[in-house]
């Protein structure tokens, strides 16, 4: 069924269709519309879940540990300061191999305080052992959360997953969305069966102390699981495409008009939509340009990036984040992926921090300066 709805509603419908039973949550702008819709679904009897109205994001993610560990599919959502407050516990969720799914309405981090969009919050959580999937549209937000549960719960993965959607520029925007039926989603994402859980009939100890003789093995296993996720994300995307008729590239990355391109922009989130328009515009002028949309930031698709950038003269990497004193995170990652294996020039662009508009002109400037090879701030 096709409807015109807010992306937050689409994101919430995706959650509802995935049937989580526990939703610990704490409000923060611009995530609130998502949890408000979920509260309505619960109170209208459309979703059989309990919302735990915790007293902080730290407790939201902690309560999520408790419910997921007890054997129940669990969802939460946050943004910005909330994600930063969760930071300590994010590592614990992944370390305990609990497939919690969370939507992050991307927002800048204080100070100065800003409620508007950039990716500093989730990029700062890069090394927490969570899968990170960035979406471009309301439809993709809905579809990706359903996929995120399936990916996270896969027995070869068992890691938590974040679905990142741009605060305001996506969360508060109305778009046409095709809402899949519950029957079809149930076929795609069956009832949750935990790999292990707290059960008085079969007692286990979760979260013990690891001495130096075992700690690295735990981290090694997690790293392997994250690498396994590369394959599982692709397979899940294919399966989704077969069932619902929609897919997002190979699940990890998506390309646009890249086939005969000499130059391309690489970006995540809503900048992708603007970049599509710019690519079309420049193509009309006869310029051989294309677009690489990175959906999976963690795990990072090194092989796929190498493959699609092969033969490109230069790429412009757009970062809505900044590692102060260095450069944008995506720029670093792309350069590291290509190092020693590619002659493509990689240029970095810092744009759209704290909600600054990234306009068509901003993307055009990136193409103009695509051969610079360093980092440029586009204000």
């Amino acid at each position: 069924m096709r409807k015109i709805i807010e992306a937050s509603t689409a994101a919430a419908i995706g959650v509802k269709l995935s049937r989580p039973q526990v939703i610990p949550m704490y409000p923060i702008t611009p995530q609130t519309h998502i949890v408000e819709r979920l509260a309505e679904f619960i109170n209208d009897g459309e979703l059989d879940a309990d919302m735990i109205h915790v007293e902080s994001e730290h407790s939201a993610i902690s309560a999520a540990i408790g419910s997921q560990a007890t054997g129940v599919r669990t969802f939460t959502a946050t943004a910005s300061q909330g994600l930063a407050l969760m930071h300590e516990i994010l590592h614990i969720v992944s370390g305990m191999r609990l497939p919690v799914v969370m939507e992050v309405a991307n927002r800048a981090l204080s100070a100065p305080i800003s409620i508007w969009n950039d990716h500093q919050d989730s990029i700062s959580a890069r090394d927490t052992g969570w899968i990170q999937l960035y979406v471009e549209s309301a439809q993709e937000a809905l579809d990706t959360v359903i996929q995120a549960f399936k990916i996270a719960e896969d027995k070869n993965v068992l890691l938590p997953a974040m679905v990142c959607l741009d605060g305001f520029t996506l969360t508060h925007v109305f778009e046409p969305v095709d809402v899949p039926s519950q029957v079809n989603v149930d076929k795609f994402l069956p009832k949750y069966k935990p790999a292990f859980c707290l059960d008085t009939k079969k007692p286990i100890t979760m979260g013990p102390i690891a001495y130096p003789n075992s700690f690295m093995e735990f981290k090694g296993a997690e790293h392997l699981a994250m690498k396994n996720a590369l394959k599982v994300i692709k397979e899940t995307n294919t399966q989704f495409k077969n069932q619902f008729g929609r897919g997002y590239g190979d699940g990890l990355i998506e390309t646009y008009r890249l086939k005969d391109a000499k130059y391309a922009v690489v970006c995540m989130g809503t900048i992708v939509g603007t970049s599509r328009v710019v690519v079309d515009k420049l193509r009309k002028q006869g310029k051989k340009v294309g677009l690489i949309k990175l959906k999976s930031f963690r795990p990072f698709p090194i092989e796929e990036i190498l493959k699609v950038t092969k033969g490109l003269k230069a790429i412009a990497v757009a970062d809505r984040n900044i590692s102060l004193g260095q450069e944008g995170a995506l720029f670093s990652e792309i350069r590291s992926a290509l190092y020693g294996k590619s002659k493509t020039i990689v240029s970095g662009f810092i744009a759209g921090l704290g909600g600054r508009d990234v306009k068509e002109e901003t993307i055009e400037k990136m193409f103009d300066k695509i051969n610079n090879g360093g980092t440029i701030w586009l204000k």
């Binding site: 039973q21 902080s56 540990i65 013990p208 102390i209 001495y211």
Partner: protein, 298 residues
């Protein structure tokens, strides 16, 4: 059954606690009272460290540890998940924390859990300082006690503040509250059973000394717990629906000096400080008696 306590050990022997550890004994009693249909959520601290050196575990019940400050929040999640699974009626949920975890870093989560009314019994193993990190001052450390961060110096004689009145603070949430001691196991287990029989949150604070932190002889833990009760520095009481009931009253009050002199953490105290501690203990005891007598609710 020995003294009315189950002989089954759900916190098994062979763990790594120090000789004379009061917390290990307290947790053993709590588990005897709770029985095996129990899920334990443990905050970071000695108990978690000494009982679960991977790949070993001393726990014979499902047990989970997340972080220092979030046992109450994890337990909230366990509570609601059990509800959704239809298992809530048959399973107890216990949350364990030391005094640092309870009084200080985990206080917000604990208050939130109590306010939301989760069916969780929170047990605070109170040894009056951060023992796991090496005896640092906490919000539960008594005035004048020497710790590594409140040392007995030439100018400042140990900690300069009194402990936070945690049982009263928790009672103000309108929940069942009890204090207990390792010197009185039957009283302790009765209170745990009562807390678990209540459909809602409860808070139990157990007095258990740390021989290393308090600098007392390893065989004196029970003696000191007994003196804590007899001197009224750690009274045993319950607060139910806001009403205080003192569990038992010492027939004859023992001077506080008898309690203080067995512990190295108080050895620097002079007459003036001892007198002040005595007066404070007396005033708090009088207040407790009055609360009981007048049935003034929290």
């Amino acid at each position: 059954m020995i003294l009315g306590l189950s002989e089954e050990e759900l916190l098994e022997f062979g763990h790594n606690a120090c000789a004379g550890c009061g917390e290990a004994l307290a947790a053993r009693y709590v588990m005897k009272a709770a029985g095996k249909n129990t899920i334990v959520v443990n905050a970071t601290g000695c108990l978690e460290v000494f009982s679960t050196p991977y790949p070993q575990t001393a726990w014979k019940v499902p047990w989970i540890h997340g972080a220092f400050e979030n046992a109450s929040a994890i337990a909230s999640g366990v509570d609601i998940a059990l509800e959704k699974l239809g298992k809530r009626k048959n399973v107890n949920v216990l949350a364990f924390g030391g005094d640092g975890s309870t009084f200080d870093i985990g206080f917000q989560a604990l208050s939130g859990m109590a306010e939301r009314g989760h069916n969780v019994c929170y047990v605070c193993y109170d040894n009056e300082a951060y023992m796991n990190t090496g005896i640092q001052r906490s919000g539960a450390t008594p005035k004048y006690a020497a710790t590594t961060t409140s040392p007995a110096g030439k100018k400042v004689p140990g900690k300069t503040e009194y402990a936070k009145p945690m049982p009263f603070i928790m009672a103000s949430h309108g929940i069942y509250v009890a204090t207990a001691s390792i010197a009185y196991p039957q009283d302790l287990t009765r209170k745990v059973k009562k807390a678990l029989s209540i459909d809602g949150p409860s808070y139990i604070q157990i007095f258990n000394s740390c021989p290393l932190g308090w600098k007392h002889k390893f065989n004196l833990g029970i003696k000191i717990a007994e003196l804590a009760y007899k001197t009224n520095i750690f009274p045993l009481y319950e607060i139910e629906k806001g009403i205080v009931t003192i569990s038992k009253k010492p027939v004859q009050k023992t001077p506080i000096l008898e309690y203080l002199k067995l512990q190295g953490r108080f050895k620097h105290l002079g007459e003036k400080e001892i007198k002040e501690v005595q007066e404070s203990v007396d005033a708090k005891w009088e207040k407790l008696l009055k609360l009981e007598e007048t049935k003034m609710g929290f």
